[in-house]
Symmetry: C2
Subunit: 339 residues, 2 copies
């Protein structure tokens, strides 16, 4: 193949906020798959907030990315050389692959994507990791009940938009925090949230929440953390459940973030706060994907995607997550599917 393979590596560890210098783009030969490995041409690449953690040197739940090493993420691609991987040329697959035009992977690391079921990009969004994260975090951790008030932050994002809809389906009153007028309209008009709060134009999160959730908060799904979460904690009801999914407002902090101590509140409210990782629910991924797919097909679950064109713009798409530039799932479109 004459075309070069563009791929991104971690140029250096960011100190605080990452920027364009965090990433280095290289042009190399298209890799040769080993026997049992497929060669995949990238169609869509997912950028996600959790990747910020992998840029740090410190130990976390996932291995840190090496400086000079590849960036990896969810990819939907087309098998261009099946090579004994168990797939066939032309198959659409998804897996955790490099940020690149082409990548290789053992067949066991890839899952098939059925293009007839839903647009293939949804395998990275509502029917992929973000959708499953919302599914388990809402149903197993935050557990909204009929009549409950459910609050979600990052509500217009890939995870929050699904979490809020699942809470609605469970019979809860749903309040979402999002960062623009357009996002609030998306929540209220397209997703059926009861109230959207535009935190970008609100000085007093607590007062806004008292208006939006006059009966207090029974279940809270947190993607953001920081001052909005401080406000939500003041409104928790007795026996409230708090699911900690993400804390994007803190990921770029250069110093250990501080805030009000919340543990006394937990005693008074007998509240439970629980962090979770979607990977811990792996044995139930099939159930989640099946249910989410069913609800999407039936029109009960809406989704939106923000698509950045071109692998070369993947860093900007990633950095935009921290500026709230996306509505719904942020994707990078890398290649066109062959027809």
């Amino acid at each position: 193949m004459p075309e070069p393979n563009r791929r991104f590596v971690l140029a250096k560890r960011p100190d605080g906020k990452p920027d364009r210098e965090t990433f280095e783009r290289r042009e190399e030969d298209v890799p040769e798959p080993e026997p049992g490995e497929a060669l995949i041409r990238t169609l869509y690449l997912s950028v996600d907030p959790y990747m910020r953690g992998r840029m740090n040197a410190g130990e976390s739940y996932a291995e840190p990315w090496a400086v000079g090493g590849p960036l990896r993420g969810g990819v939907v691609g087309e098998v261009v050389d099946a090579n004994g991987s168990g797939f066939e040329t032309g198959d659409i697959v998804t897996g955790n692959l490099e940020w690149a035009d082409y990548a290789t992977a053992p067949g066991s690391d890839l899952q098939p994507v059925d293009p007839d079921l839903a647009p293939i990009s949804t395998a990275l969004g509502v029917l992929g990791m973000p959708g499953r994260t919302a599914y388990f975090g809402t149903r197993e951790v935050a557990r909204p009940q009929p009549g409950d008030t459910f609050v979600v932050t990052g509500a217009a994002g890939a995870v929050g938009s699904v979490a809020g809809q699942l809470a609605s389906m469970a019979g809860a009153r749903v309040v979402g925090f999002a960062g623009s007028e357009e996002k609030v309209a998306f929540l209220e008009d397209d997703l059926g949230f009861d109230v959207g709060i535009d935190y970008s134009t609100t000085d007093d999160y607590r007062a806004a929440l008292e208006d939006a959730a006059p009966d207090g908060v029974d279940a809270y799904f947190d993607n953001v953390g920081g001052e909005i979460t401080d406000a939500v904690f003041t409104q928790l009801n007795v026996d409230a459940r708090v699911a900690i999914c993400g804390q994007i407002s803190l990921y770029n902090a250069e110093e250990l973030p501080t805030g009000p101590r919340k543990l006394p509140t937990l005693i008074e409210k007998r509240a439970r706060v629980e962090g979770f990782l979607v990977g811990d629910f792996a044995p139930r991924f099939e159930e989640a994907t099946r249910n989410l797919g069913r609800w999407v097909s039936a029109g009960d679950l809406e989704y939106r995607e923000t698509v950045t064109e071109g692998l070369e713009n993947a860093p900007e798409a990633f950095l935009g997550l921290f500026e709230g530039e996306n509505i719904g799932k942020q994707l990078v479109k890398v290649g066109e599917r062959d027809d």
Copy 2:
């Protein structure tokens, strides 16, 4: 009865740390019980950290005490006028009564105490509310498993000393934080804790904990909060359970206490933090008291009491809780039992 009844009322709400001026002692006539009420002569009065919260005006899980109104707490006393209450004169009873030499209460608010089972003072400690708090917080919230490392703060106190022993009985390695050399000796020599850490002579709680709990912390029972808790959170293992029972280090804060934000840790560790109140387990109090009594009788569960003599010294006994002056349960001995 010619003797006056000494009783304490809340003189004013403390601003930060309470002091002697928070309390006003009055001398009044011994109250006359209404029909169905017993007149009780106080033998022991319990002072407990949670009472600090009731001195505040703000709404909490319990009604605030009124300025000029009585202070109340756990009492063990002798019925001196049964008056149709369902008890008999001379019965030993316990209930939530005024800080006074004499108090009245409906029979339905009193529980009998069997003086042949254990010293009657234990109805306010290991066999009373503190013991039950440790029982449910350890077994139902922190849930130590065999081989786990269990950490408890306020470890030499009425609740912590029982919690640590219950965790030992469950097969966990037990580490306790306490505030003096004498207390650490009590933990290690009398209670069988694996390690006691004297926080009064330790600059670096985290380093001390890394030594004491080299395999990390699986279950944490917190009575204290603040910087010790910050250190414990850095050592949590995956799937750790944290039971928030009390936060005595924060109760006298004049401003909203702040500290490091802990929610990112909860994601990485998939940890659960849960506040609880013993009152929510009321339907199971009998089970708890029966089991605790059995273990005390068998010598499996040790307890200690710090007894301050004289109702007039009840304020000092209460204030001493915040200085860590007690080992085990802090009681005030108000009267002698008639033989």
